[in-house]
């Protein structure tokens, strides 16, 4: 079975500062990895995903995440955050060959002006 640990429940940062949201997973088999974002009063949206190939994946709004197999991590980063990035971010893992997502507890990103 898979599990996901998001090490920080809340991350406050100032606008235009860099941010890293940490995600570690546990699995005995190969996995796919995802980051979902939930803006206030909205449903979850896929931010980016790693299925195969390059271990660095990017989103259209400047986020990136790097799959590190040896450290079983998939940390999310952005070099300069904006007020509009305020949201809750969920890391998720799926067993290759399955369509079941296992989510972490979420990290609430708060951007201060």
């Amino acid at each position: 079975a898979q599990s996901v640990t998001q090490l920080d429940s809340q991350v406050p940062v100032f606008e235009e500062a860099p941010v890293e949201l940490r995600c570690n997973y546990s699995s005995s088999v190969s996995v796919y990895l995802f980051w979902y974002v939930q803006y206030p009063n909205q449903g979850l949206q896929l931010l980016l995903k790693y299925l195969s190939g390059s271990t660095l994946v990017e989103s259209i709004n400047g986020f990136e995440a790097e799959f590190n197999k040896s450290q079983t991590s998939f940390h999310l980063r952005k070099p300069s955050v904006h007020i509009s990035d305020t949201a809750e971010y969920f890391c998720a893992v799926s067993n290759q060959g399955a369509q079941k997502l296992v989510f972490g507890q979420g990290t609430r990103l708060t951007i201060n002006p």
């Binding site: 429940s9 449903g43 998720a92 799926s94 369509q99 079941k100 972490g104 507890q105 979420g106």
Partner: protein, 115 residues
Amino acid sequence: EAGVVQSPRYKIIEKKQPVAFWCNPISGHNTLYWYRQNLGQGPELLIRYENEEAVDDSQLPKDRFSAERLKGVDSTLKIQPAELGDSAVYLCASSLGLGVGSEQYFGPGTRLTVT
């Protein structure tokens, strides 16, 4: 294109009462999921449908929860009777189901409060 639609958005009931949630997935999406999200936690899968067939209901508490997806389109999740611990947000998601990694699209959820 309309996203995943859920209703109601909010529901407050007393314990031991029944409650039902409705979900209409994105048109053409064969796979439908129901998740429960407790406060401060990530979503947890309750049941997954491929068309009208429930292919993974291992996490569904079958003594009080039931779900159906007649005709392989919209779906209803029911709780009877509700308990205090059922207070949570119930999320519906759908995907094309074209294979692993197929993106899941989530609805806004139904926030259930059991008093």
